[in-house]
Symmetry: C2
Subunit: 201 residues, 2 copies
């Protein structure tokens, strides 16, 4: 039996995925978690073959959890299952030690298939997405530019951001200007959108 733990924050989706995997005769869901911190505890307790992780989760996200799992539960292979096939996500997932990267809008049958292929030692990555990740190149934003742009997603003013990050207003404007330039955007909002679409935040 292939032993799987599941991390996904939406209970109903998590339950549905568990049921989907439960249909497979050679797969067994031995644990579930609603976020990245939980899944580490669950995996340490159950020592599964596979950890199936969503990326967007409250608290520690799936990528951070993958990194931690590699250290704490070395025998456990990480499969990322995410809504958004963003190039930057794929890149970071691979760097965090994931061996497969699936998007939720591929057919349901691919989930079990991917898990079996991973168990045979293969890596499973959508070829189109792999190409996009490679052609897009690495994240051009410096860490601080990322911070500032991330702080701008919720519509904060320059002043808000400056206070939150303990920077001067001018500095915030400079970083934002750089981020706007590097993303090829025309203003802050476009920069945020483009960076998010690439998985750079």
């Amino acid at each position: 039996m292939i032993r799987v733990v599941l991390a996904e924050d939406q209970s109903m989706v998590r339950g549905a995925l568990a049921s989907l995997l439960g249909l497979e005769p050679d797969i067994e869901v031995v644990g579930e978690a609603a976020n990245g911190d939980e899944v580490i505890a669950v995996a340490e307790a159950t020592r599964p073959d596979i950890a199936l992780l969503d990326i967007e989760m409250p608290g520690r996200d799936g990528i951070a959890a993958a990194e931690e799992l590699r250290r704490r539960v070395p025998g456990c292979r990480v499969v990322i299952l995410t809504t958004f096939g963003r190039p930057g996500y794929l890149r970071r997932a691979m760097e965090a030690g994931a061996v497969a990267f699936l998007v939720k809008d591929s057919p349901a049958s691919e989930l079990a298939a991917a898990i079996r292929r991973v168990l045979r030692g293969e890596r499973v990555i959508d070829p189109g997405l792999a190409a996009a990740a490679l052609s897009a190149g690495p994240n051009p934003l410096s860490p601080r530019e990322r911070d500032v742009l991330s702080a701008a997603v919720d519509g904060s003013t320059i002043n808000d951001i400056a206070l939150r990050l303990h920077l001067s207003e001018g500095t915030v404007r400079n970083y934002l200007s750089a981020a706007i330039h590097k993303t090829g955007a025309r203003n802050r909002i476009e920069a945020v959108q483009k960076a998010q679409a690439q998985g750079w935040l």
Copy 2:
């Protein structure tokens, strides 16, 4: 047997939900669709007892589909299943004739339970969400203010919006200013966020 059709754009989630419902001895998934247009065709062909609809779908969304289904397949009860429990969504779903409104982060067991309750003639709505929808009041934005604010979500400049909607720049600014005021926001971006959080767009 309770006959159900399922509309959800993410294949894997759709398949997983189908599997979840398939576990129930008295429920049968007789059709699946990836968007609001498909589900109407499927429901007309299969005449199900229940249509389980996601809201966020490409093309015709779940709420618009619900409205159309009420006319075209009157015997079919509509259950909305959505990621976001936004007050405005609930309100619009009810106006569109839905009899149940579930969010994806409630427990998986609630799905079948809700379907059975609907079949007994009950309405199923999260009490907290119902309270939020009532206390939030109706959408304060005029149709045109909605249009303009919607056109601003992607970071377009005033100029872009004016061209796209065939308005003068000043008019666009006026509508945005009104929307900012009505949402209690401090700028365009916050206004978009607040309006989306309420389900007003």
